[in-house]
């Protein structure tokens, strides 16, 4: 009799132990923590910051390292050289002289550029670049550039690149979302969205 009572109590507590704490706000239980939590430093893991900064006063604190930037001055293989013009009005003026390092763009690259344009730019500028993306038509951000207008057709490639790199007016910098090559590809792609210059005199600019 007693045996049965103890057995049932054991079974009940075991099932309760597994079932309880079923709040969706708490992460579930895990077994074998060694196999669950990484010993290596994982992205976004909170880490004792003294390991990184050498600042011993920070010992034991945990910070999240979002942007472990590469060593200053290093360039990824195949990556274009850094863009050196500063983010000021002078740099903006000078950017007109910077040439697009991509002479021609392959059909596959153009397709990829179009894909990236639709992800990053079309949300405001619209899929055809006419300044009528969802954010623009809903009026959340005003004055979004219609890239098919004359002043953007006349705008130099370098200036366009400069604006994508540093942002302009209400537009933020896209340097963190698109690398240099992708940004130049984007300029090429925008050119394909623009109508051909209206008269022969305008076609002196890079097409």
């Amino acid at each position: 009799m007693k045996k049965i009572a103890t057995l049932s109590v054991v079974v009940l507590t075991m099932s309760l132990a597994f079932v309880s704490c079923d709040s969706k706000r708490e992460p579930g239980k895990i077994y074998m923590p060694d196999m669950t939590y990484s010993r290596a430093y994982e992205t976004y893991a909170e880490i004792d910051s003294s390991l990184f900064t050498g600042d011993q006063s920070m010992r034991g604190s945990s910070k999240i390292y979002y942007d472990n930037k590469p060593v200053t001055g290093t360039i990824k293989r195949g990556e274009l050289f850094p863009y050196t013009l500063p983010n000021d009005s002078n740099g903006y003026k000078m950017s007109a002289m910077v040439k697009n390092p991509l002479d021609s763009i392959s059909a596959a690259d153009l397709k990829e550029a179009g894909r990236l344009f639709n992800i990053n730019c079309a949300i405001c500028h619209g899929e055809k670049g006419a300044g009528n993306g969802p954010i623009s038509t809903s009026g959340k951000i005003g004055g979004i550039a219609n890239l098919t207008l004359d002043n953007y057709i006349k705008m130099a490639d370098g200036t366009m690149f400069h604006s994508i790199t540093y942002g302009k007016n209400n537009m933020g910098s896209y340097a963190s979302q698109l690398d240099r090559n992708q940004r130049w590809m984007m300029v090429k792609y925008i050119r394909t969205l623009q109508p051909k210059p209206a008269s022969a005199t305008d076609s002196t600019k890079t097409k």
Binding site: G28, M35, S38, I135
Partner: protein, 452 residues
């Protein structure tokens, strides 16, 4: 507007070009009449154009020229324009200012004060705007009334999915007790009838020592306890429906649903790296430099309280070290490379895989061309994100058994070149021995694919 003005002239020029051989041979009378015709044509054109655009559409003019920096009813990069006439020294001032702000700042006291307030930004000169165009813009600005946000559909929180299992549990228990009592009554009655009829039976065993009862109880306990124990043990390390409280009430429904922002706009590293990546704060600020307040449909929490969207955006500004009043980042006085007061947002990671599993987002997003929603559910409809899939091994394997491989097609040049090494499969496909190859067939369910 500028373009509209330019195009007619462009259109006219070639027409004019046709005339010179003719006019040269003619008398001056002809030339004059020709000029007259041209001028009147031009006038008619401008008149009709102004009918279409200039007079009627102050809104279009405003959006094309001013909306970059001005809002009618709120301060932006420049001041709110509504009620301008009460502020400027005289009505003529505004035309001079629009034509050449820099000169006005140098010469006019009110203009100088204005510049001091909004510096370092100087308004761009709009010398090309005619007086009636400026009038149209100003009229639009003064008549502007903000659109009223739709309040309909506010009570989106559904209570339809109430859980009935508790009710059924209680009912079952009550029924069991009733059945038990009835059984007891039954045995007592039988005892009474037996006594009446003089049949002698041994004293019945009380129920708690009745072997049948005990056995049934044990079996039930074993079944129920075993079920919960096993399902609990399987659930260890699985966090389906996990929905932690995040530091900012960020609604994917508003961003990915209503505003149709692509998942990859913020989680761009999903196509290049193992991690889908949490966007850095500057990506948020791409839009939120301009969007300072939430005006959409009310967001309702599960407990029925409303989320104050504008307050949540203010939280973002705090994390970013952004001052919405001056529209600039705080200066970096402590030299840590970020604006003072800025700090990373400690989002709580929802989708956790144990360390002994390797999962790479880029493999699935870029190569496998899987939609985010396949694993994460309809994120664009979730105000608060929760874990949609179990992320269990069986769940992974199932998908690998079903997903078709996108082979490289030499003729069309489409598909994944990596798989061109599987020539045999290619041949089989061509010979119609099989109609598709799943991920499993190319080793997608081998242990080392994910565990190494």
């Amino acid at each position: 507007m500028l373009i509209l003005c330019q195009y007619p002239t462009l259109l006219l020029l070639p027409k004019k070009g046709n005339f010179p051989p003719y006019t040269v041979n003619c008398m001056s009378r002809f030339r004059i009449s020709l000029n007259k015709a041209l001028i009147s044509f031009l006038l008619v054109f401008i008149f009709s154009a102004s009918n279409q655009v200039f007079a009627a559409d102050g809104e279009a003019l405003f959006k094309a020229n001013c909306a970059n920096c001005h809002k009618p009813d709120a301060d932006y990069t420049g001041p709110a324009l509504k009620g301008w006439s009460k502020r400027v020294p005289n009505p003529e001032w505004i035309y001079k200012w629009v034509a050449n702000p820099a000169q006005m700042i140098a010469s006019d006291a009110y203009a100088k004060a204005l510049f001091e307030k909004w510096k370092p930004t100087v308004m761009t000169a709009f010398g090309n705007l005619k007086k009636d165009e400026v009038d149209a813009i100003l009229k639009y600005v003064d008549d502007y009334t903000p659109p009223v946000a739709a309040q309909a559909g506010a009570n989106g929180a559904s209570s339809g999915e109430s859980d009935n299992s508790l009710l059924f549990g209680i009912l079952t228990l009550v029924m069991a007790v009733v059945a038990f009592i009835l059984l007891q009554v039954n045995s007592n009655l039988r005892k009474l009838t037996d006594e009446k009829e003089g049949i002698y039976r041994t004293e019945p065993i009380p129920f708690y020592r009745n072997k049948t009862y005990i056995m049934t109880m044990i079996l039930i306990l074993f079944a129920v306890g075993g079920y919960y124990t096993i399902s609990g043990a399987i659930g260890l390390g699985r966090m389906k429906n996990y929905q932690p409280v995040q530091p900012i009430y960020y609604s994917h429904k508003v961003h990915a649903g209503t505003n149709q922002i692509s998942c990859l706009y913020c989680h761009g590293s999903a196509q290049d790296s193992k991690h889908a990546g949490i966007p850095s704060v500057n990506v948020c600020m791409n839009c939120h430099m301009a969007i300072k307040e939430y005006k959409g449909d009310p967001i309702v929490r599960e407990d029925g309280t409303n989320v104050n969207g504008t307050e949540e955006i203010q939280k973002l500004y705090k994390y970013a070290g952004w001052n919405p009043d001056t529209k600039s980042y705080n200066p970096d006085n402590n030299g840590d490379g970020t604006p003072d007061g800025a700090q990373p947002i400690s989002w709580v990671k929802i989708h956790n895989l144990p360390d002994h599993v390797y999962f790479n987002h880029s493999q699935h997003v870029k190569v496998g061309k899987q939609q985010c929603q396949t694993c994460h559910g309809n994120i664009q409809e979730m105000p608060e994100v929760y874990q949609f899939s179990t992320l269990s091994m069986g769940w992974c394997i199932n998908c690998h058994r079903e997903s078709k491989v996108d082979f490289y097609n030499k003729e069309s040049g489409e598909g994944n070149k990596f798989y061109s090494i599987y020539e045999k499969f290619h041949k089989d496909l061509k010979d119609h021995k099989v109609d598709s190859i799943t991920v499993e067939k190319i080793g997608g369910t081998e242990c080392q694919k994910c565990h190494y």
